[in-house]
Symmetry: C2
Subunit: 176 residues, 2 copies
DNA sequence: CATCGCGTTCATTTTTATTTGAACATATTG
DNA sequence: CAATATGTTCAAATAAAAATGAACGCGATG
């Protein structure tokens, strides 16, 4: 009964890696990480790649990612570049294969701290610069307006300090 | 010497509200809030509106925003809708004027807590649901793969709990 | 040293997000 | 109640972000 055997075999395969496609588990993981990276303002493809690598027991090469995620070589390459840049992914050596093979690093905090260091911190810095510039403009205002503006500037400074105070704590919490 | 007087007058005006445009102080505030709202994934127009209102001592009506920010009525209306929705802006009554006049609320934490409640919390919730679904799939895997996958799922659960533990703290910190 | 395999880059295309503007709803005024 | 003022909504236009795919660089291989 070859028919039945092949049916069973393909059903089993489907539970794992259906027709070169994705298992339900992988799909869930990918969806999860897509929405996670979107929350951090990163492109979907980064989430797809990390999701698949996260779910994958073995290291995957670029062409495996392309094929299984239906993604162009360029997108896969750029996504891996981002993931490498903050250590969410690392390469492993595979004997007799000169392609790079990627494995997910499970420290999710790397996403968050990359986000903080690359997005939040620069924003705080430029914010500080802007507040300084605003103080320059302040002195040129007529007194009535100056008072109101001074109050507002104080609010901004307050928030900048709050942010600056929070970041180190947040980083520590995440890494812990 | 009317020429000189007018020059001085226009320079002074320029420091405040140049030709129906924006003062340097307002420009700085607007830039600051544009990058702030972009960080939270909100449209630029929301930052422009809040920035101008933040810098503005008097309450502004929709048409003033349109004119000074070079923005369509639709964008202004929708931006205000967003800002109202999380209380970053409130209306004040102006005698003998039936337009709504808007004032910035200085509690910046409202942006952050809106972001958390509208973006982060739902993501955590859907993440929890996904983890549950992944557990369903888990039992259908062959033992070898199941072990690896179980480990990964434990990581996810760990992070979900970490996130859930952090949010209340973060909210409290922000509001404080 | 010519060819091939692997990965990166970047101009172009596609997709997604935002803005515009006109139609509409609603409230006000004469 | 017609005319007007104000604000909202939403389909279409525009702008911004991301993906594609071909060209390129570089090292390995025969």
């Amino acid at each position: 009964m070859p028919a039945k055997i092949s049916t069973l075999a393909s059903r089993k395969a489907a539970a794992r890696r259906p027709a070169g496609g994705l298992s339900p588990l992988e799909v869930e993981a990918i969806d999860l990480f897509i929405s996670f990276v979107r929350l951090l303002g990163m492109p979907k493809s980064v989430g797809e790649i990390y999701g698949l690598l996260f779910a994958s027991p073995e290291a995957l090469a670029l062409d495996a990612l392309m094929e299984r995620l239906h993604m162009s070589k360029g997108a896969a390459s750029q996504g891996l570049k981002v993931l490498r840049s903050f250590g969410a992914v690392r390469t492993v050596y595979v004997a007799g294969d000169r392609r790079d093979h990627y494995l997910a690093d499970f420290e999710l905090s790397k996403f968050a701290s990359a986000f903080i260091k690359e997005e939040v911190q620069p924003h705080l810095d430029s914010g500080a610069a802007r507040i300084a510039r605003m103080e320059q403009h302040l002195v040129k205002l007529p007194k009535a307006e100056r008072e109101a503006a001074t109050l507002r500037l104080a609010k901004l400074r307050h928030w900048k300090e709050k942010g600056e105070g929070m970041l180190p704590w947040l980083l520590k919490f995440l890494v812990a």
